[in-house]
Point group: C2
């Protein structure tokens, strides 16, 4: 069968009126989640797959919009009829996380109590809080147990958390380019990015909306820095090397090297649409994720409650969440006698590999998901 697009996607909004208590103790009286679904939920509701997004992702995972055909879902290469996540077999759910800036309730949303944007008052969200909010979305969709929860990077952390928060509600966890926690170096990069935003004079302590300004400079720097860590040294060398944009040295501070052009462009693009408070929240959720913490750093004990089967994938040139970190995770899963498949994909694209159409990677995903599909009555 030819691989094809899921076609026209349509975003939906769900409102949840029951208060949600965050790990921090903060309470949100109610919230909205934006989501999209692709494929059809089967009769026994056993073929649902939840796709969790990473730092800058959202609910538009596959397909395109009728009124905006160039706006293609961020994981469209992976999800669709005949694709590794085959929407002829699976009912796929994507959502914008709580705290996001793509329609779900977040810092830029109006707080119904004050009539003003939440801004700095929006609670710091953890991965466990997200899973809580996602479980309510599953309830709404009538999904008691997901065939799989999957994601890359921060999305993979959410998939892992599902196996801990709701062991009986997820049969397979696909954790791609993820890690059981951030290292000091990871946190350090996040902290520089956060400080770029926090110290931008237009940030106004997070309450910039009412001032009609946006901390663009900070967001731009945060994104530029992020991009360096998403790519590998190799792919940067291959794509940009030391190429000069104008062919000669200018002896000034405008763009000279091609890599500068790329980074500044990425930074500008991002700063034009992404919410600074959401960026802060997302990086904190990354920093906080650490299932072992409650068990004195013992990751084996943290996963003792898990019942899911696992596919763990890493990429050779990913220095942000290196293969070594996936192997640490795999060891703890094995120590708990869980079913684990582990793959280390040879790729030059660094951390970003998980988003890229890569034959071997997609073959591994397809093989694993085809086995899940067999369990499911379509």
């Amino acid at each position: 069968m030819m691989s094809a697009s899921v076609g026209i996607a349509s975003a939906q909004r769900a409102h949840f009126g029951t208060p949600l208590t965050f790990r921090s103790g903060a309470i949100l009286p109610g919230y909205d989640l934006m989501y999209e679904t692709y494929g059809t939920l089967n009769a026994d509701k056993s073929n649902a797959i939840l796709v969790c997004h990473a730092l800058s992702g959202h609910h538009h995972v596959a397909g395109y919009y009728a009124d905006d055909p160039n706006n293609i879902g961020w994981w469209d290469t992976m999800i669709g009829p005949g694709k590794p996540v085959d929407t002829n077999k699976f009912f796929v759910v994507g959502l914008n996380n709580l705290g996001g800036c793509h329609g779900s309730t977040g810092p830029s949303s109006i707080n119904p109590e004050s009539g003003k944007p939440y801004g700095a008052s929006f609670p710091v969200v953890t991965v466990a809080d997200w899973v809580e909010s996602q479980a309510r979305l599953a309830d709404l969709l009538g999904v008691r147990q997901f065939a799989a929860v999957m994601g890359g990077s921060l999305g993979g952390m959410q998939a892992l958390q599902w196996s801990l928060s709701y062991p009986e509600r997820v049969r397979h966890v696909l954790a791609i380019a993820a890690a059981p926690h951030l290292t000091a170096e990871n946190i350090a990069f996040n902290d520089v990015a956060r400080n770029a935003i926090l110290t931008d004079p237009d940030f106004h302590g997070g309450n910039f909306y009412e001032r009609g300004v946006v901390p663009r400079r900070g967001l731009r720097l945060a994104r530029m820095l992020g991009h360096i860590t998403y790519l590998s040294d190799d792919v940067m060398a291959d794509k940009f090397g030391r190429e000069l944009r104008s062919g000669k040295l200018d002896y000034g501070y405008d763009i000279e090297f091609e890599i500068e052009s790329y980074l500044r462009h990425q930074g500008d693009k991002f700063a034009a649409y992404f919410d600074a408070n959401t960026y802060l929240l997302m990086t904190k959720a990354l920093d906080y994720f650490d299932p072992a913490r409650e068990y004195g750093g013992n990751l084996d004990k943290a996963f003792a409650v898990a019942r899911a089967n696992f596919l763990v994938l890493s990429f050779t040139t990913d220095w942000r969440f290196s293969p070594e970190r996936s192997r640490t995770l795999v060891k703890s899963l094995l120590h708990n006698r869980l079913n684990v498949s582990y793959g280390e994909i040879t790729s030059t694209h660094g951390h970003d590999s998980f988003l890229i159409q890569h034959t071997h990677y997609h073959e591994v995903m397809r093989a694993y998901l085809d086995r899940i599909a067999v369990e499911v009555a379509v």
Copy 2:
């Protein structure tokens, strides 16, 4: 012999009244260089060693000041009586590079033509320009040929450039944790740091002096980011791990993890004294250094003119200027049938290793320098 300090150091200022033409074409009518010397120049002036500094270094390389005994030179562990660079045998010269902010003429100096700080009008300096200015300092000191020119990181690049600009004026080049040019990733990190400064509202296009402000936010971010690249992932994990400063999560944007405390402290300290324009210049000098460029990317051809003997050292955990980059350099030197010693030092400290007292590293340095000392009549 016991290793000891060179004792009281005293900074000196030299004025150069002959115009200096930069690689960019810019001309500086005259300039000052701050320098310090340790040890005694021998009768035939054959025992001089020039120490070149890296991004944030200066002329105070060893010893301490009579009125400020805690202000110890930045490479005091390496240089002194009985130390690897033995001041009983060698006459050691340290200087603050042109464009610096420690007394040598730089962007914060008063331009005698305008009576105002140079600011943005100070020319962009290259490594070759620095070597030119250092050669004039050598003339002033009566040193026709250095026994050695040495440095780490950007300092190592200057040492390499000496062998190209003045092949007859340097007998040994000691290039430590250096590289024949920056990679795209290196340039990318520099560009983020520069953009942090350039977009700080207090930067005022480089002419902030007359406004009584300093782009502290930008400098702070630049330094925080720099520090991540100076350290290794391992040493960060060992020193800071995921330790929380208060022992618990605060769910906010103040300092939570120890690594954040360290980085912000380093950033604040640096921003309180370092000049933003100097930071920009130093990073550009790094980006531009690329002896192979004039030879169509052929590094072998670039070093065809070199006559010096070389000690090239790298550190296993240095991911900023990795051992691989030193090996590339070594290959080109060997292709030119030059005398090369190469050492790859096992160290957990990343790029910063070159500044750290490390037994094996210091032993290698001592052994090499002892051989040079034999050539020299003390």
